[in-house]
C-alpha cells in the first residue's frame, strides 16, 4: 500500500532536510513548526507496459479501437511530446517510443503507408536527432528519420494550416500535416496536471498566431492555478481550441502517467523522506555533496544533465481527448496530491537543476524565475500555498549564464527588456510583438536549436500570477546582479532570507516548505 502525501511538522527530532539549489543540493535545518509537504510514495508501476498499451489502444475511451480507425490509403500523423517532459528525461525505453511502436504495429498491419511523425515542440527548440532517437527508440527512428519524422516548425508558412476562430475569437493554426491527416494520434507524457488534454495538440502543434491568445499575462493572472485545469483560463482557451480542432480532424489521444521514482542510483536518497535514509544513503549524500561541490562546474552540469529517471509507468489511457484526460488527471493526482490545511506566510522551495526548457542546456535566470514563480508557486489546487502578500524564499544560485544556441532571445530579453521594466503587462504591451516577429530569432528557431523569439516572454508571464500575488521574493544564494535585474532580492543564507521576509510578513511567520522534486501538488484547504 502506497503511503499518501503528508505534511510534516518540523520538530526537534527532524533531521536537516534536503533542499535542491540548482546544480547542487544541501541539508537545511528548518525552524520548528515549519510545515513540509511530501508527495505520496511512488506508486507501484505497471508491470506489463506493452500489454497495457495494447489494451488501451484496443479498448479506448469514447472512441473506436485504434485498429478500426486505420484504413489502407489513409494518412496517419503521430505527434508526441517533446523533450520538455518528463523531467529529468526517463531512462530508456521512453514510454513515448513504446506507445508509438504499438501504434505503428497496428498501422502496418492495417495497410497504412502514409505515416508521418511530428515532434510537438511548439515554440520550443527543435529536438536534436539524438534526442529524438532516444525518445522514440531505435526502430522508429531508423524507419522514419529524417523524411517522415520531423520537428514541428511553427514558423513555416507552408507547414501550417489556419483552421479558424473559436467563439471567443481565438485563432487556431496548427501543423498542416497534422490538420490534414485522416487521423492524428497524439502520444503524451503527463508529468504534471497542467500537461495533456486539449493543451497537447493546439499548443504542441500550434503557431505563435494561436498561442498568443492564451500565453498572455491576462490568462496567467486568471489561472488559479494552471496546475488545476478546471480553474485555469489558460486551459479554458486551450479547450476551446481543442474542441474546435476535434470537429475538424480525428484525434486519438494516448496519455501516459509516471510515478515519482525521479532519481536513479546513487541519488535515490533524493526520492526518500530524510528520516528514513539508511546509513548507506546518508553516506551517498555526503559523497555526492562533496563530489558535486568540489567538481568543476562543467562536469557538474554534465553529471546532472545525464541523470535519467527510473520512472515507472502508472497509467496508459487512450481514446477521445477529454475522456482520456480525466483519467490521466486522476492518476497524476493519486501520485502527487498532498492535502494541506491553511495557507502559510512564507513558502520555501528548493529549485532543482532542471526545468522543461533547459534539458541538455543551461538554466538561465529567466528560467529560474519561471520554475520558481511559475511552476513551483502554481503547484496548488484551490488556494496558493502562501497567503496573499506573503513571501517566497527560493534556493538557487541564479547564475548569470545563458546557452548561446538554445536561448538567444533570452539573452536580449534579459539585457534589453528586464533592464527597463519587470512588469509583465508592460513587457507584453511594449516588446512581445517585436521579439515574436523578429526574423533572426525565427531563423534560429527554424534552422538552429533556438527557442522561439517570444519564448522568454512566455516564461516571464508564467510567473505573473506569483509576482502579482506575493509581497516578497527572495533567492537564497542567488547572484545579486541577476536577482536584482529581475526585481527580486538575494540573501546569502536561509536565516538572512527569513529575516528579510520578516519585513514583509512580520515576526514568527508560518513557514511551508514544498519538498519537491519528487513532484507534489498541494491541495490547500
Amino acid at each position: 500500500m502506497t503511503r499518501p502525501g503528508f505534511v510534516l511538522e518540523v520538530d526537534e527530532r527532524t533531521p536537516p532536510l534536503l533542499v535542491h539549489e540548482g546544480e547542487g543540493f544541501r541539508l537545511q535545518k528548518f525552524p520548528l513548526g515549519t510545515q513540509v509537504f511530501y508527495p505520496p510514495d511512488s506508486l507501484p508501476p505497471i508491470r506489463d507496459v506493452t500489454g497495457n498499451i495494447r489494451q488501451a489502444l484496443l479498448n479506448p475511451h469514447n472512441s473506436e479501437p485504434l485498429p478500426e480507425l486505420m484504413k489502407p490509403g489513409m494518412s496517419l500523423t503521430i505527434a508526441f511530446d517533446d523533450i520538455s517532459i518528463p523531467l529529468p528525461p526517463m531512462q530508456t525505453p521512453d514510454i513515448r517510443g513504446r506507445v508509438i511502436e504499438q501504434v505503428l504495429e497496428i498501422a502496418a498491419r492495417n495497410g497504412v503507408d502514409d505515416v508521418k511523425l511530428v515532434v510537438a515542440n511548439s515554440l520550443h527548440r527543435r529536438m536534436t536527432p539524438g534526442e529524438i532517437k532516444r525518445a522514440v527508440g531505435e526502430r522508429v527512428y531508423r524507419s522514419f528519420w529524417p523524411e517522415a519524422l520531423t520537428n514541428h516548425d511553427a514558423e513555416d508558412p507552408h507547414g501550417l494550416t489556419y483552421v479558424g476562430q473559436t467563439d471567443k475569437g481565438e485563432d487556431v493554426e496548427i501543423n498542416r500535416r497534422a490538420a490534414e491527416s485522416d487521423l492524428l494520434v497524439y502520444v503524451n507524457v503527463n508529468l504534471v496536471a497542467m500537461d495533456g488534454g486539449h493543451k497537447s495538440v493546439p499548443v504542441g502543434l500550434g503557431s505563435y498566431k494561436s498561442l498568443r491568445h492564451h500565453h498572455t499575462v491576462h490568462t496567467m493572472l486568471n489561472s488559479r492555478s494552471y496546475m488545476d485545469p478546471s480553474h485555469s483560463a489558460l486551459h479554458d482557451s486551450c479547450a476551446r481550441m481543442g474542441r474546435m480542432l476535434a470537429n475538424h480532424l480525428r484525434i486519438f489521444t494516448v496519455e501516459t502517467t509516471l510515478n515519482n521514482d525521479t532519481f536513479p542510483k546513487p541519488f535515490t536518497f533524493m526520492n526518500k523522506r530524510e528520516w528514513e535514509w539508511s546509513l548507506a544513503e546518508q553516506g551517498a549524500y555526503v559523497a555526492a555533496k562533496k563530489a558535486n561541490d568540489s567538481g568543476p562546474p562543467r562536469i557538474r552540469r554534465e553529471v546532472f544533465q545525464r541523470i535519467a529517471s527510473p520512472y515507472g509507468v502508472t497509467g496508459i489511457n487512450a481514446g477521445e481527448t477529454e475522456a482520456v484526460h480525466e483519467l490521466t488527471l486522476a492518476s497524476v493526482h493519486r501520485q502527487q496530491l498532498v492535502e494541506v490545511n491553511g495557507q502559510a506566510d512564507v513558502m520555501v522551495v528548493g529549485l532543482p537543476y532542471i526545468c522543461p526548457y533547459n534539458v541538455n542546456s543551461i538554466m538561465n535566470p529567466i528560467l529560474v524565475q519561471c520554475l520558481g514563480l511559475g511552476y513551483y508557486f502554481n503547484l496548488y489546487r484551490n488556494k496558493p500555498v502562501v497567503r496573499k502578500g506573503g513571501a517566497m524564499i527560493l534556493f538557487h544560485p541564479v547564475p548569470w549564464e545563458f546557452h548561446q544556441v538554445h536561448h538567444p532571445s533570452y539573452i536580449d530579453f534579459f539585457d534589453e527588456v528586464l533592464s527597463e521594466t519587470t512588469d509583465p503587462a508592460a513587457i507584453e504591451a511594449k516588446y512581445e510583438q517585436q521579439y515574436a516577429t523578429d526574423p533572426w530569432y525565427a531563423h534560429l528557431y527554424r534552422n538552429s536549436y533556438a527557442y522561439h523569439g517570444v519564448h522568454p516572454f512566455y516564461m516571464w508571464y508564467w510567473g505573473a500570477h506569483a509576482m502579482d500575488y506575493l509581497g516578497d521574493v527572495i533567492f537564497v544564494g542567488g547572484d545579486r546582479k541577476a536577482v536584482h535585474r529581475m526585481g527580486f532580492r538575494a540573501a546569502s543564507s536561509f536565516a538572512d532570507a527569513l529575516e528579510m521576509a520578516g519585513e514583509t510578513v512580520g515576526g514568527s511567520p508560518k513557514l511551508a516548505y514544498l519538498h519537491c522534486p519528487p513532484l507534489a501538488l498541494a491541495e490547500v484547504r
Binding site: 503528508f6 510534516l8 527532524t14 541539508l27 530524510e274 528520516w275 535514509w277 546509513l279 546518508q282 562533496k290
Partner: protein, 300 residues
Amino acid sequence: MIDEIRRVARGWRWTRRPLVPRSAEAWQRAHEPKEFPTGWARSPAAKAVREAVLRYGFRPLVWTETEPTVEGLDNLDHLLSPVMFVANHASHMDTPLILCSLPKAWRERTAVAAAADYFFDVWWRAASTALVFNTFPIERTGGKRATTTARRLVADGWNLLVYPEGTRSKDGWLGRWRHGAARLCIEYGIPAVPIALRGTYAAMPRGRSWPLKGRLPLSVRFGPALYPQDGEDFRSLSRRMQQAMARLWDEDATNWYQSLRREAEGTTPSLVGPQGPRWRRVWEASRPLPRRSKPKVWKR
C-alpha cells in the same frame, strides 16, 4: 567534508537511537527490523580480541573496583557444552562479572543474550558489545524471530548466558521471570546452570556507569545443573530454576547445609524481596554484602 559528515551524524543521531519526527510517526511503515549480524563476533580473531579485553581489561577492572567472590565452579566440572547459564540481573556489571568468573574454556564458548532494542539499536553499541561480550540480539517483545539466533547458537554448541528477567532489576530483587530460557532448554534437552549474583545492585545499580567507591563485595555463585526431565513443561523447569537460584542466594547468605535445610522446610527466603513499599526493597538490596576478605593488618 568534515562539516557535512558532522551535520549528517548529528541530524541522523549516529551515536544514538534514530528518531522519527512526531508528525511522521503515523506514516511510518511497519517493517521487521533487520537483525544486526553477530556471526563475525564468534570468529577466531574476534575470540582472541575478546579474550584479551576480558582477561586484561575487564577482569582487572572489576576485581579492582569491587571485591568479587566466585563459588561453585566445581559444578561445571563434569558438564558438557552446550548449557544455558541463567542468572538474576541487576547491573551492567553482571555480564563482565560472570564472563570473567568462568574458566577460559567455558568463557570462550559462551554467548550472551542481549536486548535487541537496547544493545542493538545503534551500530556502534551493537558492534562493541558483540565483540567484547559475544552478545547476540534477542527480541524482548517476543515474536517468531525472538529466539532464532539463540536456537542457531545452541544448535552450533554454544553455551548461552540468559537473564530470564529480560532487563535489569529496578529494585535489586528478582523481577518477572520469562520462560524463553526454559523453553529452549526443553527443546534442545540442554541443562540450565543457575547463577546467583549478589551485591551487584548495591555496587552499580541502574543509572550508574561505574561501580560505587569502596570496593564493595560481590558474589557470583554457580549452582548444580538442572536437566529438563522427560515430559516436563517449561513452566515447571522455570519454577525449578527460580527455586535453585533462591537456594543459591540463601547458600551465599548463610551456608550450603543451612540452605538445604531451609529448602527442605520450604523456608528459603523469597527472591522478590521484602513486602511493602518499594523503598524497603531498594533499601535491603542496596545494603552492601558483608566483607569476606580478612581485614588488612596494615591500614593506611
